[in-house]
Structure formats: structure tokens, C-alpha cells
Amino acid sequence: MDLILFYLRKLFTVVKNEVLVLPSRVAVILFFLFLLLLPVITEDPYLLRIFTLTSIFAILAASWDLLSGFTGQMNFGHALFFGVGAYGAALLNKYAGIPPWGTIPLGALGAVLAGLIIGIPCLRLRGTYLALTTLAFPIILMGLVFALPDLTGGELGISGIARLAGSRVATYYIAVVLMLGLCTIMWKITDSDTGIIFHAIREDELAVRAAGINTTRYKLLAFCLSGFFAGVSGGLYAHFMRIAGPSTLEVSMSFTVVIWAIFGGIVTIYGPVGAVFVLFPLLELLRLWQELRILMFAVVVLVILLYMPDGLFPWLRDKVEKECPRCKIRNIATRHTCRICTAPLD
């Protein structure tokens, strides 16, 4: 009993002193609570469907950030991982009869393999070359999908795969909990030593190599990790929509991921996740004006970029928080002195 009280008190202190002092942390907690408690408030199938899809795409956008944001390996063909994950899960489910909890990780392993295969030729390229080359891979795969309609269903895709779960709420929880968990893992990866090396590769690859780090291995690792998370998202998508079609491999899919990630702010993980939660429901909302939907979406992206070229969430964060010039601890913008070292904030 005392132990529980101790932990409760500790939790209370942490929340009070570490979480409530910063608006961004409060926002993250509220975000978690909102997603986890949404089915308690409403069980509207349309709303649940949108948030399930949004969660699935949030994993995808964050995985792009892990690869392209952190290591700076601009990947324009992220749909490849998504598509391999989706098709892998669908094929395994349809022909081998494996249930979703088996097909999604296996599909993701397929995407890891795809990451290795495209990673090896791409390691010698950098910058714009890399971006334009990676664009090619999903299109090559799409050509194969169309050329082998007996296996892949061609233009129609593979339909009639198993549901993620029996009920809507269960499906919602699978997607949301996986999204929150995987994004936390990604965020932790970027915060670890490996993440620091990823970051350093983006800033100055030559210097990292000069420090005795095998950058090739780390870049390949980034491709595989990103492929895994994107593959999970592809598998979830296939089982949620119950169809894996060529649309998962389209160029516009790759571009959409890039839009989400850069709109939200790269090298943050939370940025792309937040961006998907802003842009995807926005796109659904714009369904009210069916014809103008994509146009308005593009205009919103353009206008926001003009004012916040570094992305929406870093901009917002800079508005509400200030970094202490002395100890580099973040403070709420209303404070005049740092909460840790009491140095004056500019």
C-alpha cells in the first residue's frame, strides 16, 4: 500500500514539475488522453474510421521522418515500404491464411527487406540524386503488380482479407495503441545514441566518418527501421481497408507522405504525427466541398509554408516555449527567468 502511495506521489510530482510546466508536454498528454478516451465519448463509426486511418498514416509519416528527416536521406519512394507491407500482409492472409497479428509483422519484415534492397544501391547516392532515384522503386514494383495480375489482382488489388478485429472500437484501439506505441519507440530511437548518429549523418556525413563511425551501416539501419515501421502501417492499412491495391504504391502516396512530414516539421517525429492529425481530418472535412477538396488542401499547405517554412509544429513550439540561453532547458514563453537555473530569458 505504501509502495503504491509512493509511486502515486512520485507520479504526481513528475506530472506537476516536469509535465505541467511545458505547454508542449501538456499537449502530448492531452493528445494521448483524447485518443484513448475518444470511444468512451462517441462511437460514431465515421469518426472512429477517420481516426483509425489517421493513426495508420501517422505511423507512416513518422517513419519517413525517421529516415529522411534524421539521416537526411531524402526518400521520395516511401510508398514502396507501405505498398510492400500492404501487399505482403494481404498475400499472406489470402493464400496462407495467416491471421492479421501474424501477417502485419511478416509484411513489415518484407518491407525491411525492401529497405535493404533499395538501400544498397542508394547508399552511393546523395541529396537530389537519391530523392529522384528512390522515386523509381515503387513505380517499378507497380509495373510488376500490373504485369502479374494472377497473383496480385492487377488494377483491382487483393480484396477480401481478414478484418483487423471483430468490432469497430477494437479496431480503433489496435490502430491507436500501435500508433502511440510505435511513435514513442521511434521517438526513443531518435533520442538514443543511434539517433544522435543519424542526426550527425544528416549534418555532416564526412565528419561522422572521420570520427570512425561506419556511416554506411547506419544509413542501411535507418532504411531498415523506417521500412519496418512503414511496413507495419501498410499491413494495418491493408487489413483495415480489407484491400491492398496499386494505390498504395502510387507516386501521389509518396508525395503525400513527404507533404505530411515537411508540413509538420521534420527531425521531430511529433511534427509529422501532428501534421497527419491536422491534415487528414482536414481533408475529410473538405469533403463538404467535394470538387474543391484537393485544391483547398494544396492551397492550405502552400499558404502555411509561406509563413512557416520550417513546419507547423516547430513554429508553434517556438511561439509558446523559449529555450534558456544558459542551460538549454525549455521554458514556457510567459516566464522571464529560467525555471531551473534562474537565468534571465532574453
Binding site: 541529396g127 540524386y129 529522384l132 504485369a147 485544391l295 494544396a298
Partner: protein, 296 residues
């Protein structure tokens, strides 16, 4: 050699030359603006699509002669390009990622506006010159010859502009080294804007000459975009000669696959892109690539 085989070979050559010229024109424009301003302009082929719709509108809806339509399309689209550069791209040029998605969003805007104005149905424009030539039993339409010759002519003009004029010198030196060019009294911002104009103008011209040979639809920019990027990477970024050669290599590769392989129409993109990747494995900077020093 039998007549049928000769005909097939001729068909492949014509198809390869036409698509090669189209890709060359597009890739040179794309390469030019990348070289000078380091802008990866995803909307490049969207301008091509807008020009094609412009021609359709002026000839079919307003009933003017196609030549006027071509002039109008090139001028209007070039203006459109310069305006969108000034308003949307110039203010965020330092942020590479932002420029990238700004151009993607711009392409989406064009596609949607065209869908709203002309609906998504397939449209076509009659040939500028009707009739055809019979060579070895293969119909060679005058329009195909015209497209090919016009493409070559424009490429020659562009070459003259870049190599023989002062503006060309400014463009080339800005592409080589922005800071030094600036120190030598070249107005870099102005050169970038002019290059954007030339680049978009080339895309518009391509759209104008190729429109009678293709089907008009708002998604028509996607395939050329991918092929153009493959050409640019294959030839080497920023190298105009590379773009030229790469375009014909991929154009012929596409034509060969379409005419010879089963399910060729589906695989044409895959094969062309696989060729690009194979070349990159051997020469990471492309066939004629100038290796850009990364700013450090």
C-alpha cells in the same frame, strides 16, 4: 528482312524519337532550373499539362488557329511560371524541403484547377498538319515529324542562347558557382527568375507540340514527370548534354518494351527506371554528371 519486321523497327524508331525528344525538352528545362537555383521543380510537367490545356481551350473553345494557340500557351504559361516562382518559391528558397512540397502542392493545384475547368474526361486536339507519309508500309504522321523537328530546333536555339549570348554566360556561371557569379556582378536573383521563365517556357513548348499526339487529362503530368526525373538522374544532374542523351536512351528503351515485350505498356516505366538504376550502380553521378560539391 521481311516487311513486317522493317515496319516494327521503323515504328520503334519513330516512337523512340518522339518520346525521346519530349523527355529531352522537359529534362533540359528541369535540369536548367536545378542547376541555377537548386530548385527541384516537381511542378515542371504540371506546366506542360497546363500548356496542353491552353491549346485545347484556344483552338477548340475559342476557335483560333493552332499556331496562335501555341504562342498564347507558351507566353501564358511562362508568365504563370514566373508569377508562381515570385510568389511561392522565392520567399522560401533557403528551405529545401519547403520548396519541394511547395512545388508538389503547386502541381496539385494545377491538376485540380484543370479538373474543375475541363472535367476529368479524356480530350484530344487535332493535328496541326494533317496527313501522313507511307514509309515501308508504316504511317508516319506529319505531326510526328513536326514535333520531332520543332523539338530539335528549340534545343538548338537553347544551345545557342546558353553558349553564344551574355545571358547564357550568366546562367552558366550562376550554375557553376553562385557566390562567385554574384561577385562578378551577375544579379543572381534575376538570373534565377529568367531561368525559371526559360525552363517553364520549355515545358510549355513541349506541351504545345506534343498535345496532338497524346490524350489530354489532368493526370497527364505524372508519367512524364517520372520519366523526366529518370532522364535527369541518368544523364547527370545539371548536365544538359546528359539530359539530351539520357532522354533518347530512355525514350528508345520505352519504345522497345512497348513494341516487343508482352504486357509492355505496363512495364515500360519499370524497365526504363531499372535501366536508370543499373547505370547509377556503375556511375553514381550519372552518365555526364558534374559532381556538385556539397556546401559544407
Amino acid at each position: 528482312m521481311s516487311w513486317g519486321l522493317m515496319g516494327l523497327v521503323l515504328n520503334i524508331i519513330i516512337s523512340g524519337l518522339i518520346s525521346g525528344s519530349v523527355y529531352a525538352l522537359l529534362a533540359i528545362g528541369f535540369s536548367l532550373i536545378f542547376g541555377v537555383a537548386r530548385i527541384v521543380n516537381i511542378a515542371h510537367t504540371a506546366f506542360y499539362m497546363v500548356a496542353a490545356y491552353c491549346i485545347y481551350f484556344v483552338t477548340q473553345k475559342m476557335g483560333f488557329h493552332p499556331v496562335w494557340a501555341m504562342v498564347a500557351a507558351v507566353i501564358l504559361v511562362t508568365l504563370l511560371g514566373i508569377i508562381s516562382y515570385k510568389i511561392l518559391i522565392n520567399p522560401i528558397r533557403e528551405h529545401e524541403g519547403a520548396v519541394l512540397i511547395a512545388t508538389i502542392a503547386l502541381a496539385m493545384v494545377f491538376q485540380e484547377v484543370m479538373t474543375i475547368l475541363f472535367t476529368g474526361t479524356y480530350l484530344s486536339v487535332p493535328a496541326l498538319v494533317k496527313g501522313y507519309l507511307l514509309i515501308l508500309g508504316v504511317k508516319v504522321f506529319y505531326q510526328q515529324l513536326l514535333t520531332f523537328c520543332a523539338a530539335l530546333l528549340v534545343m538548338a536555339l537553347l544551345w545557342a542562347l546558353l553558349m553564344k549570348t551574355k545571358l547564357g554566360l550568366a546562367v552558366r556561371s550562376t550554375a557553376q558557382d553562385k557566390e562567385v557569379a554574384n561577385l562578378m556582378g551577375i544579379n543572381e536573383a534575376q538570373v534565377a527568375m529568367i531561368t525559371m521563365g526559360i525552363s517553364v517556357g520549355l515545358a510549355a513548348f513541349t506541351g504545345a507540340v506534343v498535345v496532338p499526339l497524346t490524350i489530354l487529362e489532368p493526370g497527364m503530368w505524372m508519367h512524364p514527370l517520372i520519366m523526366m526525373m529518370a532522364v535527369v538522374v541518368l544523364g547527370g544532374l545539371g548536365s544538359l548534354k546528359g539530359s539530351f542523351m539520357g532522354a533518347y536512351i530512355l525514350g528508345f528503351a520505352e519504345a522497345l518494351v512497348v513494341f516487343l515485350a508482352p504486357m509492355g505498356a505496363f512495364l515500360k516505366g519499370s524497365v526504363a527506371l531499372s535501366i536508370m538504376i543499373l547505370v547509377l550502380l556503375i556511375r553514381p553521378e550519372g552518365l555526364f554528371g558534374v559532381y556538385f560539391e556539397e556546401e559544407r
